[in-house]
Symmetry: C2
Subunit: 472 residues, 2 copies
């Protein structure tokens, strides 16, 4: 797409060669310039054409990352951290060339403290691997973006998912990080205490910094007791507005749901095909209730009354674990399922989040906007947070469709900003939303971000070209 983003490697070759020689001396074959490996690391789940780094290194410890960062600083070579490759906004593209630091081999569980409800893991551990490890402890880690993302990547993009309405996002659930700075020094940003007023909140500064301020190598997160009882329900509504209005009222009543997800009729068709389900193709809510059996009954009674008031029908219950899991797996695979609605298509995703009172208007106006656009765009959303995604399925070879989709995306984001919302609830800025970031925050706030970037990474070597333009 837009070729101006693709500045290509600006490295002078001797610097890179010297760096690679020094890296290889310590890390051997874990440093590579093989084209296939570079190509694999120059892409993510966005619709951007890949842009490969000059080399890839597979790190296994914080010490190795510190060694790599110090060498990169010495040689003036950019670093791009890579977890599981599931970013959606172009975070991983090597727009200034440089070295991709693949952290997937940093997959060790460092410590589980079940009595404190905390886990410390290396950055490459994925959310599913952590939960697999926790299975017999009675605890779990709730943050669940669609992909099986790495915890380092989830921290770097301030990810969330379907459970955020109850448990919060990475912002609320990271207690501490180990971060390698641009000069190769390592810091710990916090302790395992549940709260602290000790100085600037470096943890939350690095959470959401998308690799531009430092490289996250370890993550300490909060864990929660696995709910003893869960009950999942779906129901359909005559209109998107009716479904979203039900969500708004449920949240305003303070019903402590663990999940409340919206899936539009088109997206249901995609999920049905992908997961061999047979849900009615209508605007649908997925609810998950938890608590004691009596508490769940009380919650269900409230939600049913609200839903009935908006013409809900076809309540279906999935109480057996295997049925619940099948439903949530379908929801988590939405990106892949919805891509199949138009074989060969690419998805441009957008990810706005608005105050809950604005959600019905925002979704309804967006639905009309999509219809007018003539594009195929399913909508799914973590609507309990006011967050929804539009997947714009475009022909990758049609510049006209891409332009139409980006124009639609502009209107969706501007609509959310006008409603005191944000241009991204959980995907991050990457390359795709740099312009919107300025619209959302204003020049002075962007200046503050830039001045922090300059203070921590004066050479502009940490994932350069992402979040905002910046010249060292």
């Amino acid at each position: 797409m837009t070729s101006s983003l693709h500045t290509g490697s600006v490295l002078r070759r001797p610097f890179l060669d010297a760096l690679l020689a020094a890296l290889t001396q310590r890390l051997g074959t874990r440093v590579t310039t093989a084209q296939a490996v570079r190509d694999h690391h120059g892409r993510d789940e966005s619709s951007y054409d890949p842009q490969a780094p000059d080399a890839v290194v597979f790190a296994r410890s914080t010490e190795e990352v510190a060694f790599i960062a110090a060498l990169c600083a010495q040689h003036g070579v950019p670093l791009i951290p890579y977890g599981s490759g599931s970013s959606l906004e172009g975070h991983l593209l090597a727009v200034h060339g440089g070295l991709c630091v693949d952290l997937s081999e940093m997959n060790q569980i460092v410590a589980i403290h079940p009595e404190d409800l905390t886990a410390t893991v290396q950055a490459g551990v994925t959310r599913k691997a952590l939960n697999e490890h926790l299975r017999d402890t009675g605890l779990f880690f709730p943050i669940d973006p669609g992909a099986d993302a790495s915890l380092g990547g989830m921290a770097a993009t301030r990810a969330s998912g379907t459970n955020a309405v109850r448990y919060g996002a990475m912002r609320e659930n990271v207690l501490a990080l180990t971060v390698v700075l641009a000069d190769g020094r390592t810091i710990k940003t916090g302790t395992r205490a549940r709260k602290s007023s000790a100085g600037y909140d470096l943890t939350r500064l690095f959470v959401g910094s998308e690799g531009t301020l430092g490289l996250i190598t370890e993550v300490t997160v909060r864990l929660y007791p696995q709910p003893e009882n869960l009950s999942v329900a779906t129901c359909t509504f005559p209109t998107m507005t009716a479904a979203v209005q039900t969500v708004i009222e449920t949240i305003q009543m303070g019903v402590p749901l663990s999940r409340i997800e919206f899936v539009d009729a088109l997206a249901i068709r995609g999920l049905n095909a992908h997961a061999k389900l047979s849900m009615a193709e209508a605007p649908t809510l997925f609810f998950e209730f938890q608590g004691s059996p009596s508490a769940i009954e009380e919650q269900i009674a409230v939600v049913r009354e609200l839903a009935d008031g908006h013409g809900a029908s076809g309540f279906e219950w999935a109480n057996r674990p295997e049925d619940r899991n099948r439903l949530w797996a379908a929801r988590h695979d939405a990106l892949y399922a919805l891509l199949q609605l138009r074989p060969g298509a690419k998805a441009i995703t957008t990810d706005v989040c608005v105050p809950i009172s604005q959600l019905a208007a925002c979704v309804t106006e967006t639905g009309a906007d999509i219809a007018a656009s003539g594009l195929m765009c399913p909508i799914v959303g973590h609507v309990g947070d006011g967050n929804f995604h539009v997947l714009m399925l475009i022909d990758p070879d049609s510049e006209e469709e891409r332009e139409r989709a980006e124009a639609l995306n502009h209107r969706i984001v501007r609509r959310a900003l006008a409603m005191d919302g944000t241009c991204t609830g959980e995907h991050g800025i990457g390359l795709h939303k740099m312009g919107f970031l300025i619209e959302e925050h204003g020049d002075a706030a962007i200046d503050v971000m830039r001045s922090i970037k300059h203070a921590l990474d004066p050479g502009n070597l940490m994932n350069p070209g992402k979040i905002f333009s910046f010249t060292a």
Copy 2:
């Protein structure tokens, strides 16, 4: 106390005079150098001797604060924000002289959005004023430090209180801030969306920055539905260890209490005297349960069983609102109540927070340490968070007692740090814990904080001398 902190005003007089002339032209009598006003603004609730600013200005709007900051930048005069004067660690002392910006007249409720569960207020609005305003909406703002602090001050110190175990601290509950920067520009750090991945988390950078990066003028916070049913209980334990062990097990079981507070036997004596209560003088837990009647019954059953297992006795219930309020008022007034245990004394407070598994050891060892010290030191704690306070009641004229208390404080903090805890759970660093901040975070992390300070406040004019030493 330590005279090195009291560097006095380092301002050159002509700069100050020019500033005051320019301020007075716009703000008239709201600019003052009257000694009584200066003295009042040079103190807080810490045990430090007051250190007055050179002048005080009462601001009424963000625009006025921006005007003041721009003038201070022009004249090189430090600014110290002042909310309600309830800081505990010396945050308000004018150690480098300068201008105190009193925000208490910025007491307007800017907007309540009941349907979104958000409130936007000027920085001088206190937590009680906000809740008074909200009373008929069915909503409330839960964060409750002991004092009736201003929301700007609570954001600046990353405050919490008794409700944090359920609702989180200011860190989790501030959605957005309006901040005047050192150069007089104004930024908004966020939107009213419940979550966002849009760029660096400036909101959480300013939350806890203690006025050293900018001056908070408006705060947008989350609100919650007032619980329909509340039940408060107290019970006593044979030992501190038994009480704290009960807390640990309650938290580990995931019981969704709204409050769980520890008060030691000495502190109970103080509360009894202050609030005309007649509680047994023994280690005591205060519990608050909320939810539906059946959910509360379930919670109570679990907690009673755990407490009984640790020898609890004397369960007393306060179900009438007036009885509940009397109990919580007593707990909130603890600082003032406990000062009366030793008439004429000053309190040096400490405020550590440790992972919950370490809490029993930390409190028990601290109890023995206090006994050995010969000082009168009641303990109270937000123990559901692993956070507890020791009030060291000292004769303000005895340097020996002060040294003994500070030595005790050092041991308490080092014990918490050794347990992977923090030197302050909710009071902040101010002047008192600058050394501990370095011990907790290490030199490299402090360098990161300093570089951010330098980036945002190169002239070191924003509450200089707090959190860490810094030279412009």
